[in-house]
């Protein structure tokens, strides 16, 4: 319980930092409303998501109502309103991937990570999304983990993908601990 509270507070703080950064960036951008979608894309590109608080700021920047910006942002698949995980997982559900069992792959991630599509794990390690085709149909089913495309994915490979990330995290942690120990002893 206490953990959750601390995590939530941390997220609030982070969102505040993101909003401050956006407020600092906006004045340098053209106020031509043709730039609305590019600006939303830019914010998401830099910060990984569009905090709801940023919608009003963008609206004020262009001098248009918040409802309009919200309407545009919620129309397109690209925009998300919660922060992505450190390892965003995108399961392709294009035609070829679907025929080859993409849905089953998505289900396996859902089960393994305990989150539904569009959600981020509480520890912000993973987020899960479905995408409508990454254009690697001949390698179906395909999953994009971070920047890397995993091809011919099977349920057991799902396990492998997560395990690999977990192992790498553990190695990183150990090395960090080692470094700290070393710097402590020095």
């Amino acid at each position: 319980m206490v953990d959750n509270l601390e995590q939530d507070q941390e997220i609030d703080l982070e969102e505040e930092r993101v909003l401050d950064a956006i407020a600092a960036e906006l004045p340098g951008i053209s106020r031509d409303v043709h730039q609305l979608i590019p600006v939303l894309q830019k914010i998401q590109h830099i910060h990984g998501y569009l905090p709801l608080g940023s919608i009003g700021m963008v609206a004020a920047h262009f001098g248009i109502p918040g409802a309009k910006v919200f309407g545009v942002a919620t129309f397109y698949n690209q925009f998300r309103f919660n922060p992505p995980g450190r390892h965003p997982i995108k399961v392709c559900l294009g035609t070829a991937c679907h025929v080859k069992g993409g849905e089953i792959i998505l289900e396996n991630f859902t089960r393994r990570l305990g989150i539904e599509e569009g959600e981020t794990t509480k520890d912000r390690e993973y987020s899960l999304e479905r995408v409508a085709c990454v254009g690697c149909c001949a390698l179906a089913p395909v999953v994009v983990v971070g920047e890397k495309i995993e091809s011919y994915v099977t349920p057991s490979k799902v396990e492998g993908v997560i395990t690999e990330i977990e192992i790498q995290n553990e190695i990183a942690e150990r090395e960090k601990a080692k470094d700290e120990q070393q710097s402590d002893s020095e």
């Binding site: 009003g56 109502p65 409802a67 309407g71």
Partner: protein, 233 residues
């Protein structure tokens, strides 16, 4: 009036004359020929043509066309009641009511609802029968705005409120949000300082709504209280 400014056309065998440039739907309505419609409002340059109820057939043109988006022409021969037109209108109507629970007596728009009028005209029930009832995936009542409540399952997404708000106000305070089946009307930001100033509480959106999906909170509360009293009595 001279021939230049008036156009003569035939609708269902009736000859009518209307000013040049008039939209066909308006021409018919002004001459006592009823065509059901939800999304069209007088004065629109580019009507959305989204409700798909005002379909007519025009001789020499392919398929049923939305009359709101056709401009009258001399000698045009129009049919508003062909079998195909009626079939499509009935299906569009069936689709629109399939998200609603059909409990008209519990609705503020009862007896002056546009859907009731169209139901009567098309001889259609207001409760979905052949199609399943599929409510939208959102709360029954949304209270995003400080004093306006929105009921998504009643809403037919005609967009009249969005249009009227953009016309009446320098900027508009409500707009469509989301997409597809879950498209909704959003007052996003209306509670925020600065942004909320857009809404001047002119209630134009409430008054223009054809189906009672937008209501003033106070009025709705009073209506429901009254209804409760009636039921218990």
């Amino acid at each position: 009036m001279s021939k230049d400014v008036m156009v003569t056309l035939t609708v269902d065998g009736l000859e009518i004359s209307v000013p040049r440039g008039t939209k066909l739907l308006k021409a018919c309505l002004d001459n006592g020929i009823y065509i059901p419609s939800l999304c069209y409002l007088d004065g629109m340059d580019h009507p959305p043509a989204s409700c798909r109820l005002c379909l007519v057939e025009i001789e020499g043109r392919p398929g049923p066309l939305p009359s709101c988006s056709q401009t009258v022409e001399d000698g045009m021969v129009v049919h508003t009641e062909t079998d195909e037109v009626r079939l499509l209108q009935k299906t569009a109507f069936r689709l629109l009511v399939s998200t609603n629970d059909g409990k008209c007596r519990l609705c503020m728009a009862n007896k002056h609802c546009e859907m009731q009028k169209i139901a009567k005209f098309l001889h259609m029930p207001l409760r979905t029968k052949k199609l399943r009832h599929i409510p939208k995936d959102m709360p029954e009542v949304i209270e995003e705005h400080p004093c306006i409540v929105y009921e998504p399952n009643k809403c037919v997404l005609c967009g009249r409120c969005v249009y009227i708000c953009s016309q009446q106000n320098y900027d508009f305070a409500l707009d469509f949000a989301k997409r597809g089946f879950n498209t909704t009307i959003s007052f996003f930001g209306s509670r925020e300082e600065g942004v909320g100033d857009y809404c001047r509480n002119c209630r134009a959106c409430v008054d223009i709504c054809p189906v009672g999906a937008l209501n003033l909170k106070d009025e709705r509360d009073a209506f429901l209280q009254n209804l409760q009293a009636k039921i218990s009595a």
